[in-house]
Amino acid sequence: MNNGKKIALVIGWGSVKCAAALGLLRVLKREGIGIDMVIASGGGSIFGALFALGYDVEEIVSMNQRLWTHEVTEKTNRLAILQLILPKIFKVGEYFNLRDDQLMNERLFEALGKQTFKDTTIPLFISATDYKTGKHIVISQGSIYQAVRATVALPLVFPPIQVDNQLLADGYLSEPLPIGVAIQEGAQIIIAMGFESISQEARNSFSDYLLHLSGILSNNLLQASLSFYNLAHHSELFIIFPQFEDDIHMFDTHKVPEIIQIGEAEGEKLLPKLKQKLEFSQ
């Protein structure tokens, strides 16, 4: 149905909100529109990776319900609090984090196991950030579990991880919506779903405050990237920013069904324009 056009799906940073991409994929599947490559950053990489591995959208939806239960993200790392108060005694390294990542790691491993980028049915690219140099890193080989774990490492929340010789952290620090990768990989039509990173709710603690500040920067980075890619791109770019009525927290895993529905509605809105573009290119 793609009339020979190479379509890329880019799923941006947005933690649990990234599940909206599943709603979009549901619509595309119904219409027989295939995706030729997936590029993802942060939480988007979980859904992007499963989709690239050939899982059906409905399968990912039900896997998601099993994997992302509330307890995954609720365990506080007690050591971090001691590190904050007494940094000299409880040494802080590059792995400083406020949440315990053990359960998240187990669940991610359960979903992705030992699969590598070679096992995908369509090309998959995952964006992360080198925490030492600050550079954007695109991962397209090796363990998918490791790549996903790296890009969901939101600093201060989950610790960065060592992959080969690099210390990798969240893609949101360098490329919250990695459209540039899709352009470089020769996509002719790019569907990019991004998410705002600023919460409208009151901040009740210092870590909320730090995350709000980094959200301001990342949101401005996202806007600057979009302006740049809009001007520079040589392919068709469809940008979707799902709007959520309530504030969705990073750990609101129970809101996923509602998020998927919002993504689906966005997919329906996109459809006429996308179809027109595909027909024109016949």
Partner: protein, 284 residues
């Protein structure tokens, strides 16, 4: 374009703390060549030098400005109530107006340099400075009101200094939304723009929560600077002359002793571009 047909030249000074003193070196080169600046835009530390240049301070006066702005006691007074709010948020009531360093000395320093009553209307050439809306994260351009307060707002590094109210908005450091505000000069009608920018330094080793957080912010700001600049270059390429001095050694935020070295670097970088600038001015 100005009334006399001469192209309008803007100097934009990005965020960079005391490294913004490199603007003095740029000004020295322009003074030698008799090139006048028609408007100035500043962000954060750049707002301090930008406002002074807009006021008509000479390069020599600006060296004095550095010593007056970054006095050694600027970070000495701790704001204990903010610290308590951070450590015991529930008991002391956490709010958005956190600032670990008491900002009174900094605010006084800025008032000493510019005068407490001076407004944007008093500057010799138009001056704009940028800040960030703490709630929406959007960039805000300040172009009227008290000069000293605007400069204090623009250089309000979050967590270190508390955010300040301005026209009903709570504002913080412009570096979080627009570290090198070239667009402000474009919108104000500049034909040619000298953009002096600074890359925030990355940490050599991450061994405290402060280091860890500072690394996160430096990475984000670097990426933001690069992306914004790539966009401006694509959209308005020929009119922007970028000067990005590199500093091999780490410069602490109030290390006044490094100012001569910083000025030197700024001058050297500016000299590399002066030929092109003169050519561009003649062609416009």
């Amino acid at each position: 374009m100005k009334k006399d047909g001469r192209p309008s030249l803007a100097l934009v000074i990005g965020s960079g703390g005391i490294k913004c003193a490199a603007a003095i070196g740029v000004l020295q080169v322009l003074e030698t060549e008799n090139i006048a600046i028609d408007m100035v835009v500043g962000c954060s530390g750049g707002a301090v030098y930008g406002a002074a240049i807009a006021q008509g301070f000479s390069a020599d006066q600006l060296v004095e400005t550095s010593a007056k702005a970054w006095t050694s006691d600027i970070t000495r007074r701790i704001n204990f109530s903010s610290l308590l709010k951070i450590i015991f948020p529930k008991r002391f009531g956490f709010d958005d107006e956190i600032g670990i360093i008491d900002d009174r000395i900094m605010a006084e320093n800025i008032e000493t340099i510019f005068g407490a009553k001076t407004t944007f209307a008093d500057t010799r050439v138009p001056f704009y400075c940028v800040a960030t809306d703490f709630h929406t994260g959007e960039p805000v351009v300040i172009s009227k009101g008290k000069l000293a307060k605007a400069i204090r707002i623009s250089s309000g590094i979050p967590i270190v200094f508390k955010p300040l109210e301005w026209e009903g908005k709570l504002l913080i450091d412009g570096a979080l939304s627009n570290p090198l505000p070239v667009d402000v000069a474009i919108k104000a009608g500049a034909d040619l723009i000298i953009a002096l920018g600074f890359e925030p330094p990355l940490e050599h080793s991450v061994n405290s929560p402060v280091n860890f957080a500072s690394q996160m912010f430096s990475i984000l700001e670097n990426q933001l600077l690069a992306k914004k600049f790539a966009f401006y270059n694509l959209a308005y390429h020929s009119e922007i002359i970028a000067i990005v001095p590199e500093f091999k050694e780490k410069i602490r935020c109030n290390d006044v002793s490094k100012v001569p070295f910083i000025v030197d670097q700024g001058r050297r970088e500016a000299e590399k571009h002066i030929h092109y600038l003169k050519q561009a001015l003649a062609m416009k």
